[in-house]
Symmetry: C2
Subunit: 249 residues, 2 copies
């Protein structure tokens, strides 16, 4: 069933006002009276709703649905600005894989230079992709996108995390395989976990030192070299496997 | 360091004859005498080699390198023919994530219909993508691509596997999370593991029955709905996490 995110609090009768949502509901899906959809308000609870007036874009809430597909921990993916449309790829695939937040920052070895105007435009595009992917993959939350213009602003945010993992190619080459598995076996529900990835050229030694000063742990993600946009998918899948599949065994 | 796959057995002195490889070595990378590369012959061992004659495309082997990045089990990804260029995406990303073979077959609910001629062309393209990705991610093996024109031919190949997993969306919806983790904790090095994925529309009940008759186990891959091309990446990452990271803990 089609799912839509709706800003605001749930009420018994809801009128949809967001233009893009209205367009998709009544022009693309051509919803008519009594047809049902799932609506997700700011409380992240899914509710079954049916159209009571298609001209007025008006729905009646039928019931709450017992469906929570969010990860037990809040995973933020932070990437050094990568080339091309890799962040767009990450916004889509990371959302399918359970990411809570997508962050990006200007890394020492980022080739692209994006100014404030470009970043605002890109953040807007990424937010739209994350919204669409969140609806498709039936998420309860829309991943939030933050693009930092200055690395200092990104570093200032690291304090809030319970675990910080630095995906470090050299760790992988040295055969480091134990840290991520050990740490994931210890995380508790509700904790905030950050994975930091470099751009194509990797993370500079100064950045490694800065992240480690904030409590970051270098991790290897298996022995193979992955592209900048592939490693975050491995990390998200691993968190899901460790906390959603393995813990249920 | 640049890596190349070379067909045949290793010898002390090797002349490269494959046109694409020669072109990349001497036109793109502009290798000259004494420059070094990594060559991987049919025995899947990496060897350091240096150019001894760039006009004749001739290398001398210096030494074997102790680098094996292959998964401890041989993982085959089989996908019902998906729309568009999703197999191309899988050939690249699956190779980075350690896939041994990429198979595809005409599933009941595949929308695309590909004839033998189209399949031969597509297989050729996919093999090239897998080769390039295998060189980039420093694999010891090039994933082999097989596109089955008839589903019966695909089914006939299932006997060879030690484990067959059927990625089944309904299992995910029902909250099935235990089977994959349980089975991965029991696989032994060298075993052959197959993951079967449906096309966009999913796997038909008749197909599920046919796969189960061959020993296939339905598995859930976490609670979120993933696109057809994303689920295989989750599966490959999980195998790596379970067998390469967790077992080393």
């Amino acid at each position: 069933m089609q799912q839509y995110f709706v800003a605001g609090q749930a009420q018994d009768v809801v009128t949809i006002t967001d233009k893009d949502t209205v367009k998709h509901m009544f022009n693309v899906m051509r919803l008519t009276e009594d047809e049902e959809v799932v609506l997700v308000f700011d409380d992240h609870i899914k509710r079954l709703a049916k159209v009571i007036d298609s001209a007025e874009h008006c729905f009646e809430i039928i019931e709450e649905l017992d469906s929570n597909v969010e990860m037990p921990v809040e995973v933020t993916i932070a990437a050094g600005f990568p080339k091309g449309d890799k962040l767009e790829f990450l916004a889509q695939k990371g959302t399918e894989l359970g990411m809570a937040n997508l962050w990006a920052f200007p890394a020492d070895w980022s080739v692209v230079k994006w100014d404030g105007k470009k970043l605002a435009k890109k953040a807007d595009k990424l937010a739209k992709i994350a919204l669409g992917a969140a609806e498709q993959s039936k998420r309860n939350c829309i991943p939030q996108v933050t693009l930092f213009e200055k690395k200092a602003a990104f570093l200032a945010e690291l304090e809030q995390f319970d675990k910080i993992f630095i995906a470090y190619e050299e760790s992988a080459k040295e055969g480091e395989t134990a840290v991520l598995a050990r740490e994931l076996s210890q995380v508790k529900a509700g904790e905030k976990v950050l994975f930091i990835f470099g751009p194509e050229g990797g993370i500079s030694p100064e950045e490694i030192a800065a992240f480690e000063e904030k409590g970051g742990l270098k991790i290897g993600l298996g022995p193979r070299i992955m592209r900048a946009e592939t490693a975050p998918l491995y990390a998200l899948s691993s968190v899901s496997y460790a906390l959603e599949l393995l813990k249920q065994e």
